[in-house]
Symmetry: C2
Subunit: 112 residues, 2 copies
């Protein structure tokens, strides 16, 4: 078993093209030999956003703090702390922080 304070896990800048002011912490993943899926914590600074993209795996997201929008079928849908979001495989998506504090969310993905 591994018990961690999420805030003590190293936050790495997301360098992917199309990302702006986003960090990621790998909370549970390859280093733990997690066999099926990985838990990541993202923080998007005010005005920042994740890349708009599509891929063949799903996202399972839980918003911990802040507010923003997620792009769904070309439309921005509001998201706030306490929302859970399922992004199926092959669906275009992008998360943006539209608030004044960091938008923090867990985003889990299948192991690659």
């Amino acid at each position: 078993m591994k018990i961690r304070n999420a805030e003590t896990v190293e936050a790495k800048q997301v360098e992917m093209e199309g990302a702006e002011d986003v960090t990621m912490r790998m909370l549970i993943g390859p280093d733990d030999k997690a066999p099926t899926f990985n838990m990541r914590l993202f923080e998007v600074a005010p005005g920042g956003y994740t890349p708009r993209h599509t891929h063949d795996w799903e996202h399972e997201v839980y918003v911990l703090a802040g507010k923003g929008v997620v792009l769904e079928n070309g439309q921005d849908k509001p998201i706030i702390a306490g929302n859970c979001i399922y992004v199926p495989p092959n669906e275009d998506h992008q998360f943006r922080n539209t608030g004044g504090e960091n938008l923090k969310f867990l985003c889990l993905v299948p192991k690659t």
Copy 2:
């Protein structure tokens, strides 16, 4: 894409033997045809606990609110909001609420 307020998802009492004062909300799961893993939200009332048990799949846990302990190798380890916990397959575990408010945590598991 599905966007939900977690609090609006039905909370079902966990009837499993060895559980006391625990509810579960299936936030993302079979109804969404989630292909790899399921996101559940548990709430354990003060004094309550999940079953002490072992199984051949992993848990990936994130504590949202409250405080408690998780049993690891026969010892109670403290957990609080902001902790993430990886329980590998085949490891004995039990979550207990030792605080005065509900212990709320996400617990994700592979799809069965």
